[in-house]
Amino acid sequence: MEIKSCVKIRKEWDIVSARQMGREMAKELGFGTVDQARIATAISELARNIYLYAEDGQIDYEVITEVNRRGIKITAHDNGPGIEDLGRVMEDGYSTSGGLGAGLPGVKRLMNHFDLQSEPGKGTTVTAIKWVR
């Protein structure tokens, strides 16, 4: 069973819509309030990255089911400038926007699974999963 929905990120307010949608889905899936906040915050960071660096992109939401667990899968993708140095963006405190956004290391800590794919000039895709405890 896969439920898929998406929010396009083009303007600032879309960041709020994206995290509200994530929180609602997380709530329906049975996540506790702390994990709901973690998921919503992670989405907020990912959506802001799209807004700041790519200007246009999308967040996809998917319910994933395995044998004995369920979770939410968030995919943030854009066709923006991409990331030159993948190692560096995963360092805490690294930012090219002057301190906006705690960035990807924070998102990684908030979620259970994290994957970053990027190609300079082509775009970036971040996949993050959180399992219901």
């Binding site: 995290r19 929180r23 906040a37 973690r38 915050t41 802001r48 906006l100 800590r109």
Partner: protein, 118 residues
């Protein structure tokens, strides 16, 4: 959207009850500094009881407004940060050190009074 800022004697009271978008957060920062300037308030309580998400951007705006107000001569206390929000901020790597906080509005006012030694 604008966040209402109430004046009570020498204090300003703010209760944030909406999901803050970036624009509203920035406008709030400006409004608060302006109100401090016009009212001559010496203390500010920003109550976050109803806020269920603080991402790195909002944390930065809040942290900055504390420092900015301090530069102007007004003390700010953040109150009522929810457990889920506190945990999320630490996961994010946002530690908000040097930001005065209190459990609730009441404790916040007590803290302000102590800091301002009234």
């Amino acid at each position: 959207m604008r966040i209402p800022i109430l004046k009570l004697h020498n204090y300003l009271l703010v209760s944030i009850q909406v999901d803050l978008d970036d624009q509203t957060a920035i406008r709030f920062q400006e409004d608060l500094l302006d109100k401090i300037h016009k009212s001559g308030a010496t203390g500010v309580v920003i109550d976050l009881t109803s806020v269920d998400i603080i991402d790195s951007f909002i944390a930065k705006v809040l942290g900055d407004v504390v420092t900015m107000s301090d530069l102007m001569g007004a003390k700010v206390v953040l109150t009522g940060i929810q457990p889920a929000v506190a945990m999320t901020l630490i996961d994010l790597g946002v530690h908000m050190q040097n930001v005065p906080t209190a459990l609730n509005l009441e404790q916040g006012l007590i803290k302000l009074r102590q800091e301002l030694e009234e």
